[in-house]
Protein backbone atom coordinates (compact mmCIF):
# COMPACT_ATOMS: atom_id res chain seq x y z
CA UNK A 1 0.00 0.00 0.00
CA UNK A 2 1.26 3.45 -0.85
CA UNK A 3 1.92 5.97 1.83
CA UNK A 4 -0.60 8.75 2.09
CA UNK A 5 1.15 12.14 1.97
CA UNK A 6 1.17 13.98 5.25
CA UNK A 7 -0.60 17.09 4.00
CA UNK A 8 -3.47 14.96 2.72
CA UNK A 9 -3.77 13.21 6.10
CA UNK A 10 -3.86 16.61 7.78
CA UNK A 11 -6.49 17.84 5.39
CA UNK A 12 -8.60 14.71 5.96
CA UNK A 13 -8.33 15.13 9.72
CA UNK A 14 -9.42 18.74 9.55
CA UNK A 15 -12.38 17.74 7.40
CA UNK A 16 -13.31 14.97 9.82
CA UNK A 17 -13.18 17.35 12.79
CA UNK A 18 -15.35 19.81 10.96
CA UNK A 19 -17.95 17.22 10.05
CA UNK A 20 -17.86 15.85 13.59
CA UNK A 21 -18.62 19.32 14.91
CA UNK A 22 -21.51 19.62 12.44
CA UNK A 23 -22.77 16.05 12.97
CA UNK A 24 -24.77 16.28 16.27
CA UNK A 25 -27.03 18.93 14.84
CA UNK A 26 -28.41 17.01 11.83
CA UNK A 27 -28.42 13.74 13.78
CA UNK A 28 -30.90 15.24 16.19
CA UNK A 29 -33.25 16.25 13.40
CA UNK A 30 -35.48 14.17 11.13
CA UNK A 31 -33.72 12.16 8.42
CA UNK A 32 -35.66 13.83 5.65
CA UNK A 33 -34.63 17.30 6.77
CA UNK A 34 -31.01 16.41 7.33
CA UNK A 35 -29.69 17.28 3.87
CA UNK A 36 -31.12 20.78 4.07
CA UNK A 37 -29.56 21.29 7.49
CA UNK A 38 -26.18 20.00 6.41
CA UNK A 39 -26.28 22.14 3.31
CA UNK A 40 -26.71 25.12 5.58
CA UNK A 41 -23.85 23.94 7.77
CA UNK A 42 -21.45 22.92 5.06
CA UNK A 43 -21.61 25.02 1.94
CA UNK A 44 -19.09 22.89 0.06
CA UNK A 45 -21.82 20.51 -1.06
CA UNK A 46 -23.83 22.25 -3.76
CA UNK A 47 -27.56 22.48 -3.06
CA UNK A 48 -28.62 20.88 -6.31
CA UNK A 49 -26.53 17.77 -5.57
CA UNK A 50 -28.09 17.50 -2.14
CA UNK A 51 -31.51 17.82 -3.69
CA UNK A 52 -30.63 15.13 -6.17
CA UNK A 53 -29.45 12.74 -3.47
CA UNK A 54 -32.54 13.50 -1.44
CA UNK A 55 -34.88 12.66 -4.30
CA UNK A 56 -32.84 9.56 -5.08
CA UNK A 57 -33.17 8.43 -1.52
CA UNK A 58 -36.91 9.03 -1.61
CA UNK A 59 -37.16 6.96 -4.78
CA UNK A 60 -35.07 4.23 -3.19
CA UNK A 61 -37.36 4.14 -0.18
CA UNK A 62 -40.36 3.75 -2.48
CA UNK A 63 -38.52 1.09 -4.48
CA UNK A 64 -37.87 -0.79 -1.25
CA UNK A 65 -41.58 -0.86 -0.53
CA UNK A 66 -42.59 -1.83 -4.05
CA UNK A 67 -41.02 -5.26 -4.25
CA UNK A 68 -42.46 -6.02 -0.84
CA UNK A 69 -45.93 -5.15 -2.14
CA UNK A 70 -45.50 -7.21 -5.27
CA UNK A 71 -44.00 -10.17 -3.46
CA UNK A 72 -47.44 -11.51 -2.61
CA UNK A 73 -47.36 -13.60 -5.82
CA UNK A 74 -44.61 -16.00 -4.83
CA UNK A 75 -43.24 -17.00 -1.46
CA UNK A 76 -39.74 -17.61 -2.78
CA UNK A 77 -39.36 -14.05 -4.00
CA UNK A 78 -41.06 -12.66 -0.94
CA UNK A 79 -38.45 -14.28 1.21
CA UNK A 80 -35.73 -12.93 -0.94
CA UNK A 81 -37.07 -9.40 -1.22
CA UNK A 82 -38.13 -8.88 2.32
CA UNK A 83 -34.55 -8.59 3.63
CA UNK A 84 -33.65 -6.40 0.67
CA UNK A 85 -36.37 -4.00 1.55
CA UNK A 86 -35.22 -4.18 5.12
CA UNK A 87 -31.68 -3.23 4.28
CA UNK A 88 -32.83 -0.32 2.16
CA UNK A 89 -34.91 0.94 5.02
CA UNK A 90 -32.02 0.40 7.38
CA UNK A 91 -29.78 2.39 5.05
CA UNK A 92 -32.37 5.13 5.08
CA UNK A 93 -31.86 5.54 8.83
CA UNK A 94 -28.46 6.34 10.31
CA UNK A 95 -26.54 3.06 10.21
CA UNK A 96 -22.99 2.43 11.40
CA UNK A 97 -21.23 3.08 8.08
CA UNK A 98 -23.36 6.02 7.00
CA UNK A 99 -22.27 9.62 7.16
CA UNK A 100 -24.04 12.55 8.76
CA UNK A 101 -27.65 12.74 7.75
CA UNK A 102 -27.62 9.08 6.77
CA UNK A 103 -25.79 9.49 3.47
CA UNK A 104 -24.32 6.22 2.29
CA UNK A 105 -22.37 8.16 -0.29
CA UNK A 106 -20.67 11.39 0.42
CA UNK A 107 -19.57 13.99 -2.02
CA UNK A 108 -16.01 14.70 -0.97
CA UNK A 109 -15.33 17.57 -3.28
CA UNK A 110 -16.25 18.99 -6.64
CA UNK A 111 -13.19 19.40 -8.81
CA UNK A 112 -13.56 22.15 -11.31
CA UNK A 113 -11.92 21.69 -14.70
CA UNK A 114 -8.44 23.16 -14.67
CA UNK A 115 -7.98 23.21 -10.87
CA UNK A 116 -5.66 20.17 -10.79
CA UNK A 117 -4.23 20.22 -14.28
CA UNK A 118 -3.67 23.78 -15.32
CA UNK A 119 -3.69 23.51 -19.06
CA UNK A 120 -1.54 26.41 -20.19
CA UNK A 121 -1.00 25.44 -23.79
CA UNK A 122 -3.71 26.40 -26.17
CA UNK A 123 -4.02 24.37 -29.32
CA UNK A 124 -1.78 25.97 -31.93
CA UNK A 125 -2.05 26.10 -35.65
CA UNK A 126 0.71 23.70 -36.66
CA UNK A 127 1.82 22.08 -39.87
CA UNK A 128 3.89 19.00 -40.53
CA UNK A 129 7.58 19.62 -41.04
CA UNK A 130 7.42 17.04 -43.80
CA UNK A 131 6.53 18.12 -46.39
CA UNK A 132 5.87 21.82 -45.65
CA UNK A 133 9.16 22.91 -44.07
CA UNK A 134 11.49 20.39 -45.70
CA UNK A 135 10.29 21.35 -49.17
CA UNK A 136 10.83 25.05 -48.48
CA UNK A 137 14.31 24.38 -47.12
CA UNK A 138 15.16 22.14 -50.04
CA UNK A 139 14.10 24.74 -52.58
CA UNK A 140 16.09 27.43 -50.76
CA UNK A 141 19.19 25.22 -50.66
CA UNK A 142 18.76 24.36 -54.33
CA UNK A 143 18.40 28.00 -55.32
CA UNK A 144 21.46 28.89 -53.25
CA UNK A 145 23.51 26.10 -54.87
CA UNK A 146 22.37 27.13 -58.34
CA UNK A 147 23.30 30.75 -57.70
CA UNK A 148 26.69 29.81 -56.28
CA UNK A 149 27.41 27.41 -59.12
CA UNK A 150 26.52 29.88 -61.86
CA UNK A 151 28.35 32.74 -60.21
CA UNK A 152 31.44 30.54 -59.76
CA UNK A 153 31.18 29.40 -63.36
CA UNK A 154 31.44 32.92 -64.72
CA UNK A 155 33.45 34.84 -62.12
CA UNK A 156 36.85 33.60 -61.08
CA UNK A 157 38.26 34.05 -57.60
CA UNK A 158 41.25 36.38 -57.64
CA UNK A 159 44.73 34.92 -57.56
CA UNK A 160 47.27 37.71 -57.80
CA UNK A 161 51.00 37.17 -58.19
CA UNK A 162 52.99 35.33 -55.53
CA UNK A 163 53.25 37.08 -52.17
CA UNK A 164 56.21 39.44 -52.10
CA UNK A 165 57.30 41.23 -48.94
CA UNK A 166 59.26 43.79 -50.93
CA UNK A 167 56.36 44.93 -53.08
CA UNK A 168 53.68 46.62 -51.03
CA UNK A 169 50.59 47.12 -53.19
CA UNK A 170 49.07 50.57 -53.11
CA UNK A 171 46.53 50.59 -51.62
CA UNK A 172 46.77 47.58 -49.29
CA UNK A 173 43.27 46.63 -48.24
CA UNK A 174 41.88 44.19 -45.68
CA UNK A 175 39.01 41.79 -46.60
CA UNK A 176 35.84 43.73 -47.32
CA UNK A 177 34.17 42.98 -43.96
CA UNK A 178 37.14 44.58 -42.18
CA UNK A 179 37.28 47.61 -44.47
CA UNK A 180 35.01 49.49 -42.09
CA UNK A 181 37.70 49.10 -39.44
CA UNK A 182 40.40 50.13 -41.90
CA UNK A 183 38.29 53.17 -42.72
CA UNK A 184 38.17 54.00 -39.00
CA UNK A 185 41.97 53.83 -38.99
CA UNK A 186 42.02 57.02 -41.05
CA UNK A 187 40.19 58.84 -38.26
CA UNK A 188 41.31 57.27 -34.99
CA UNK A 189 44.33 55.88 -33.24
CA UNK A 190 44.87 52.24 -34.32
CA UNK A 191 43.96 50.95 -30.85
CA UNK A 192 40.63 52.77 -30.91
CA UNK A 193 39.85 51.83 -34.53
CA UNK A 194 41.11 48.26 -34.47
CA UNK A 195 40.29 47.09 -30.97
CA UNK A 196 38.13 49.43 -28.90
CA UNK A 197 35.38 50.24 -31.39
CA UNK A 198 34.88 46.71 -32.81
CA UNK A 199 35.18 45.27 -29.30
CA UNK A 200 32.52 47.69 -28.05
CA UNK A 201 30.37 46.81 -31.05
CA UNK A 202 30.42 43.09 -30.31
CA UNK A 203 29.94 43.73 -26.59
CA UNK A 204 26.89 45.90 -27.25
CA UNK A 205 25.44 43.29 -29.60
CA UNK A 206 25.80 40.62 -26.93
CA UNK A 207 24.18 42.88 -24.34
CA UNK A 208 21.31 43.92 -26.63
CA UNK A 209 18.74 41.38 -25.33
CA UNK A 210 19.58 42.25 -21.72
CA UNK A 211 19.40 46.01 -22.20
CA UNK A 212 16.20 45.94 -24.25
CA UNK A 213 13.51 45.44 -21.61
CA UNK A 214 10.62 46.16 -23.96
CA UNK A 215 8.65 42.91 -24.23
CA UNK A 216 6.91 43.79 -27.49
CA UNK A 217 8.25 42.70 -30.84
CA UNK A 218 6.03 44.97 -32.87
CA UNK A 219 8.00 47.56 -34.85
CA UNK A 220 5.63 50.35 -33.82
CA UNK A 221 6.36 49.64 -30.13
CA UNK A 222 10.12 49.63 -30.47
CA UNK A 223 10.97 52.63 -32.59
CA UNK A 224 14.03 53.44 -30.49
CA UNK A 225 15.56 49.95 -30.73
CA UNK A 226 14.87 49.71 -34.44
CA UNK A 227 16.35 53.18 -35.09
CA UNK A 228 19.41 52.38 -33.01
CA UNK A 229 20.05 49.09 -34.80
CA UNK A 230 19.50 50.68 -38.20
CA UNK A 231 21.98 53.40 -37.26
CA UNK A 232 24.45 50.73 -36.11
CA UNK A 233 24.11 48.67 -39.30
CA UNK A 234 24.22 51.74 -41.55
CA UNK A 235 27.32 52.99 -39.75
CA UNK A 236 29.20 49.81 -40.69
CA UNK A 237 27.67 49.52 -44.15
CA UNK A 238 28.65 53.07 -45.07
CA UNK A 239 32.17 52.62 -43.71
CA UNK A 240 32.60 49.34 -45.61
CA UNK A 241 31.31 50.90 -48.83
CA UNK A 242 33.60 53.91 -48.49
CA UNK A 243 36.56 51.70 -47.63
CA UNK A 244 35.81 49.35 -50.52
CA UNK A 245 35.00 51.66 -53.38
CA UNK A 246 36.05 55.19 -52.44
CA UNK A 247 39.61 54.60 -51.29
CA UNK A 248 42.45 54.55 -53.77
CA UNK A 249 46.25 54.74 -53.63
CA UNK A 250 47.52 55.75 -50.24
CA UNK A 251 44.01 54.99 -48.98
CA UNK A 252 43.05 58.47 -50.13
CA UNK A 253 39.49 59.32 -51.08
CA UNK A 254 38.73 58.62 -54.74
CA UNK A 255 35.64 58.41 -56.87
CA UNK A 256 35.31 54.97 -58.49
CA UNK A 257 33.74 56.35 -61.68
CA UNK A 258 36.73 58.64 -62.22
CA UNK A 259 39.77 56.76 -60.90
CA UNK A 260 38.45 53.21 -61.21
CA UNK A 261 38.03 50.49 -58.59
CA UNK A 262 40.71 49.54 -56.09
CA UNK A 263 38.95 46.54 -54.71
CA UNK A 264 39.44 42.77 -54.76
CA UNK A 265 37.16 40.26 -53.12
Amino acid sequence: MTEVPEHLLKRAKAARDKSAAAAPEPAAEETAEAPAASSGGDSRIPAHLLARSKSAKARKAEGGDEPAAESGGGTATAVATAPTGGTVVAAGGPPMAAGPGGHTQRLLTVVKAGSIQDVKAKPQDKVHVWPHLIVAEFVAALACTAFLLFFSWFVNAPLLELADFNKTPNPSKAPWYFLGLQELLTMFHPMVAGVTIPGMGIFLLILAPYMDKNPSNKPEDRKFAVSLMTLFLMFWAVLVIIGSFFRGPGFNFTLPWIDGLFFEL
Binding site: V129, S152, L159
Partner: protein
Protein backbone atom coordinates in the same frame (compact mmCIF):
# COMPACT_ATOMS: atom_id res chain seq x y z
CA UNK B 1 -3.78 -15.32 -77.51
CA UNK B 2 -1.00 -13.11 -78.76
CA UNK B 3 -1.78 -10.64 -76.02
CA UNK B 4 -1.33 -13.21 -73.27
CA UNK B 5 1.91 -14.37 -74.85
CA UNK B 6 3.20 -10.83 -74.75
CA UNK B 7 1.80 -10.15 -71.32
CA UNK B 8 3.25 -13.13 -69.47
CA UNK B 9 6.98 -12.25 -69.59
CA UNK B 10 6.17 -8.75 -68.44
CA UNK B 11 4.35 -9.95 -65.34
CA UNK B 12 7.16 -12.39 -64.68
CA UNK B 13 9.65 -9.52 -64.57
CA UNK B 14 7.34 -7.58 -62.32
CA UNK B 15 6.98 -10.58 -60.05
CA UNK B 16 10.73 -10.98 -59.87
CA UNK B 17 11.18 -7.31 -59.06
CA UNK B 18 8.52 -7.67 -56.40
CA UNK B 19 10.20 -10.73 -54.92
CA UNK B 20 13.58 -9.01 -54.98
CA UNK B 21 12.16 -5.94 -53.26
CA UNK B 22 10.53 -8.11 -50.62
CA UNK B 23 13.69 -10.09 -49.95
CA UNK B 24 15.80 -6.93 -49.71
CA UNK B 25 13.32 -5.14 -47.47
CA UNK B 26 12.90 -8.25 -45.35
CA UNK B 27 16.62 -8.77 -44.87
CA UNK B 28 18.32 -8.19 -41.57
CA UNK B 29 20.78 -5.73 -43.11
CA UNK B 30 17.99 -3.55 -44.51
CA UNK B 31 16.07 -3.62 -41.27
CA UNK B 32 19.17 -2.78 -39.29
CA UNK B 33 19.71 0.34 -41.39
CA UNK B 34 16.18 1.74 -41.25
CA UNK B 35 14.27 2.16 -38.02
CA UNK B 36 10.88 0.53 -37.45
CA UNK B 37 8.32 2.86 -38.95
CA UNK B 38 10.79 4.27 -41.45
CA UNK B 39 9.24 4.90 -44.84
CA UNK B 40 12.01 2.80 -46.39
CA UNK B 41 10.71 -0.20 -44.47
CA UNK B 42 6.99 0.17 -44.78
CA UNK B 43 6.57 2.38 -47.82
CA UNK B 44 5.08 5.84 -47.92
CA UNK B 45 1.53 6.88 -48.57
CA UNK B 46 0.47 10.37 -47.69
CA UNK B 47 -1.21 10.39 -44.29
CA UNK B 48 -0.72 12.51 -41.16
CA UNK B 49 0.83 9.51 -39.41
CA UNK B 50 3.33 8.89 -42.21
CA UNK B 51 4.19 12.58 -42.35
CA UNK B 52 5.19 12.32 -38.71
CA UNK B 53 7.11 9.09 -39.31
CA UNK B 54 9.24 10.70 -42.02
CA UNK B 55 10.75 13.04 -39.44
CA UNK B 56 10.60 10.75 -36.41
CA UNK B 57 12.48 7.91 -38.08
CA UNK B 58 15.21 9.92 -39.77
CA UNK B 59 18.23 11.84 -38.57
CA UNK B 60 16.30 15.03 -39.40
CA UNK B 61 14.58 14.57 -36.04
CA UNK B 62 17.74 16.05 -34.47
CA UNK B 63 17.10 19.28 -36.34
CA UNK B 64 13.35 19.53 -36.72
CA UNK B 65 10.32 18.59 -34.64
CA UNK B 66 7.48 16.67 -36.27
CA UNK B 67 5.34 19.77 -36.44
CA UNK B 68 6.05 23.48 -36.41
CA UNK B 69 3.80 26.48 -36.04
CA UNK B 70 2.31 27.54 -39.32
CA UNK B 71 4.07 30.90 -39.38
CA UNK B 72 7.45 29.12 -39.11
CA UNK B 73 7.18 27.88 -42.68
CA UNK B 74 6.44 31.35 -43.99
CA UNK B 75 9.45 32.17 -46.16
CA UNK B 76 8.73 35.89 -46.09
CA UNK B 77 9.26 35.88 -42.32
CA UNK B 78 12.70 34.26 -42.07
CA UNK B 79 13.91 34.52 -45.68
CA UNK B 80 15.64 31.19 -44.84
CA UNK B 81 18.73 33.16 -43.80
CA UNK B 82 19.71 31.03 -40.81
CA UNK B 83 19.16 27.80 -42.72
CA UNK B 84 21.09 29.11 -45.70
CA UNK B 85 23.99 30.12 -43.49
CA UNK B 86 24.11 26.53 -42.23
CA UNK B 87 23.78 25.21 -45.75
CA UNK B 88 26.63 27.44 -46.94
CA UNK B 89 28.73 26.14 -44.06
CA UNK B 90 28.12 22.60 -45.37
CA UNK B 91 28.95 23.66 -48.95
CA UNK B 92 32.14 25.30 -47.69
CA UNK B 93 33.10 22.16 -45.77
CA UNK B 94 32.61 19.97 -48.85
CA UNK B 95 34.47 22.27 -51.24
CA UNK B 96 37.12 22.94 -48.58
CA UNK B 97 37.84 19.22 -48.18
CA UNK B 98 38.26 19.02 -51.94
CA UNK B 99 40.76 21.90 -51.88
CA UNK B 100 42.71 20.29 -49.04
CA UNK B 101 43.68 17.41 -51.35
CA UNK B 102 45.68 19.77 -53.51
CA UNK B 103 47.12 22.26 -51.06
CA UNK B 104 50.24 22.35 -48.89
CA UNK B 105 50.45 25.21 -46.36
CA UNK B 106 54.05 26.33 -46.85
CA UNK B 107 55.28 29.59 -48.31
CA UNK B 108 57.21 27.72 -50.99
CA UNK B 109 54.32 25.59 -52.23
CA UNK B 110 50.99 27.24 -51.37
CA UNK B 111 50.70 29.63 -54.32
CA UNK B 112 51.93 27.01 -56.83
CA UNK B 113 49.42 24.51 -55.46
CA UNK B 114 46.55 26.92 -55.96
CA UNK B 115 47.80 27.76 -59.44
CA UNK B 116 48.10 24.07 -60.35
CA UNK B 117 44.67 23.44 -58.88
CA UNK B 118 43.20 26.09 -61.15
CA UNK B 119 44.99 25.03 -64.30
CA UNK B 120 45.37 21.25 -64.15
CA UNK B 121 42.86 19.79 -61.70
CA UNK B 122 39.44 18.81 -63.04
CA UNK B 123 36.88 21.27 -61.67
CA UNK B 124 39.64 22.75 -59.53
CA UNK B 125 38.96 26.31 -60.57
CA UNK B 126 35.20 25.89 -60.20
CA UNK B 127 35.46 24.41 -56.72
CA UNK B 128 37.88 27.11 -55.61
CA UNK B 129 35.52 29.76 -56.95
CA UNK B 130 32.62 28.15 -55.10
CA UNK B 131 34.63 28.10 -51.89
CA UNK B 132 35.62 31.74 -52.25
CA UNK B 133 32.22 33.12 -53.22
CA UNK B 134 30.46 30.81 -50.80
CA UNK B 135 32.56 32.24 -47.99
CA UNK B 136 31.65 35.82 -48.89
CA UNK B 137 28.02 34.78 -49.26
CA UNK B 138 28.07 33.16 -45.83
CA UNK B 139 29.45 36.30 -44.17
CA UNK B 140 26.64 38.20 -45.88
CA UNK B 141 23.90 35.72 -44.97
CA UNK B 142 24.99 35.48 -41.32
CA UNK B 143 25.02 39.28 -41.15
CA UNK B 144 21.57 39.54 -42.74
CA UNK B 145 20.30 36.76 -40.44
CA UNK B 146 21.37 38.85 -37.47
CA UNK B 147 19.59 41.92 -38.87
CA UNK B 148 16.42 39.89 -39.51
CA UNK B 149 16.43 38.49 -35.98
CA UNK B 150 16.90 41.96 -34.51
CA UNK B 151 14.15 43.62 -36.53
CA UNK B 152 11.71 40.86 -35.54
CA UNK B 153 12.63 41.28 -31.88
CA UNK B 154 13.41 37.57 -31.88
CA UNK B 155 16.24 37.99 -29.37
CA UNK B 156 13.80 38.74 -26.55
CA UNK B 157 13.01 36.36 -23.70
CA UNK B 158 13.39 33.41 -23.72
CA UNK B 159 15.81 33.69 -26.63
CA UNK B 160 18.39 36.08 -25.13
CA UNK B 161 21.12 33.49 -24.81
CA UNK B 162 20.62 32.15 -28.31
CA UNK B 163 21.24 35.68 -29.57
CA UNK B 164 24.51 35.70 -27.63
CA UNK B 165 25.50 32.40 -29.26
CA UNK B 166 24.53 33.94 -32.58
CA UNK B 167 26.89 36.87 -32.03
CA UNK B 168 29.65 34.37 -31.22
CA UNK B 169 28.83 32.53 -34.45
CA UNK B 170 29.00 35.80 -36.41
CA UNK B 171 32.45 36.46 -34.97
CA UNK B 172 33.52 32.88 -35.76
CA UNK B 173 32.29 33.28 -39.34
CA UNK B 174 34.42 36.40 -39.76
CA UNK B 175 37.42 34.62 -38.26
CA UNK B 176 36.90 31.59 -40.52
CA UNK B 177 36.77 33.84 -43.56
CA UNK B 178 39.75 35.92 -42.45
CA UNK B 179 42.00 32.92 -41.71
CA UNK B 180 41.15 31.51 -45.13
CA UNK B 181 42.10 34.79 -46.75
CA UNK B 182 45.83 34.20 -46.22
CA UNK B 183 45.98 30.69 -47.65
CA UNK B 184 46.39 31.42 -51.40
CA UNK B 185 49.61 33.23 -50.45
CA UNK B 186 49.30 35.87 -53.15
CA UNK B 187 49.79 39.61 -52.87
CA UNK B 188 46.14 40.13 -51.98
CA UNK B 189 46.31 37.58 -49.17
CA UNK B 190 49.61 38.74 -47.72
CA UNK B 191 48.81 42.42 -47.53
CA UNK B 192 45.21 42.05 -46.44
CA UNK B 193 46.39 39.93 -43.55
CA UNK B 194 49.20 42.34 -42.82
CA UNK B 195 46.69 45.16 -42.48
CA UNK B 196 44.39 42.98 -40.34
CA UNK B 197 47.00 41.64 -37.96
CA UNK B 198 48.64 45.05 -37.57
CA UNK B 199 45.31 46.28 -36.25
CA UNK B 200 45.08 43.39 -33.78
CA UNK B 201 48.60 44.24 -32.66
CA UNK B 202 47.20 47.39 -31.11
CA UNK B 203 45.30 45.43 -28.48
CA UNK B 204 46.04 47.20 -25.19
CA UNK B 205 48.56 45.71 -22.71
CA UNK B 206 49.40 42.51 -24.62
CA UNK B 207 49.09 43.66 -28.22
CA UNK B 208 52.51 42.48 -29.36
CA UNK B 209 51.93 39.09 -27.73
CA UNK B 210 48.59 38.73 -29.53
CA UNK B 211 50.28 39.53 -32.80
CA UNK B 212 53.13 37.12 -32.09
CA UNK B 213 50.73 34.28 -31.31
CA UNK B 214 48.67 35.00 -34.40
CA UNK B 215 51.63 35.17 -36.74
CA UNK B 216 53.70 32.42 -35.15
CA UNK B 217 56.62 34.85 -35.17
CA UNK B 218 57.46 38.52 -35.48
CA UNK B 219 56.54 38.70 -39.17
CA UNK B 220 54.15 36.92 -41.49
CA UNK B 221 55.88 33.85 -42.94
CA UNK B 222 55.56 30.17 -43.55
CA UNK B 223 54.81 29.57 -39.85
CA UNK B 224 51.90 31.96 -40.08
CA UNK B 225 50.61 30.06 -43.06
CA UNK B 226 50.67 26.73 -41.22
CA UNK B 227 49.09 28.30 -38.16
CA UNK B 228 46.26 29.94 -40.08
CA UNK B 229 45.74 26.79 -42.12
CA UNK B 230 45.15 24.72 -38.99
CA UNK B 231 42.92 27.43 -37.55
CA UNK B 232 40.98 27.59 -40.81
CA UNK B 233 40.45 23.89 -41.56
CA UNK B 234 40.19 22.46 -38.03
CA UNK B 235 40.09 24.80 -35.09
CA UNK B 236 37.44 27.32 -36.09
CA UNK B 237 35.19 24.78 -37.89
CA UNK B 238 35.29 22.61 -34.78
CA UNK B 239 34.31 25.49 -32.49
CA UNK B 240 31.70 26.67 -34.97
CA UNK B 241 30.06 23.23 -35.18
CA UNK B 242 29.76 23.10 -31.38
CA UNK B 243 28.19 26.54 -31.22
CA UNK B 244 25.88 25.73 -34.13
CA UNK B 245 24.71 22.58 -32.32
CA UNK B 246 23.85 24.65 -29.23
CA UNK B 247 22.27 27.33 -31.42
CA UNK B 248 19.94 24.87 -33.19
CA UNK B 249 19.11 23.04 -29.99
CA UNK B 250 18.14 26.29 -28.30
CA UNK B 251 15.94 27.28 -31.23
CA UNK B 252 13.79 24.23 -30.49
CA UNK B 253 14.01 24.48 -26.70
CA UNK B 254 12.95 28.13 -26.75
CA UNK B 255 9.79 27.19 -28.60
CA UNK B 256 10.78 27.21 -32.24
CA UNK B 257 11.41 30.33 -34.23
CA UNK B 258 9.85 33.50 -32.89
CA UNK B 259 6.26 34.43 -33.60
CA UNK B 260 4.81 36.88 -36.08
CA UNK B 261 4.94 40.60 -35.39
Amino acid sequence: MAKTMQGSPKTKVQDKIGQLTDSVQGSQAWNSIFRPGSIFRKGYSDSPRNRSYVIMNSVLYHLHPVKVKRHAVKVSYTLCLGGLSFFLFIVLTVTGIFLMFFYRPTAAQAWDDIYTLQTSVTFGLLVRNMHRWGAHLMVLSVFLHMARVFYHGAYKAPREFNWVIGVVLLTLTLLLSFTGYLLPWDQLALWAVTVGTNMMGYTPVFGSQVRFVLLGGAEIGTDTLLRWYVLHVLFFPFITVIFMAIHFWRVRKDGGISGPL
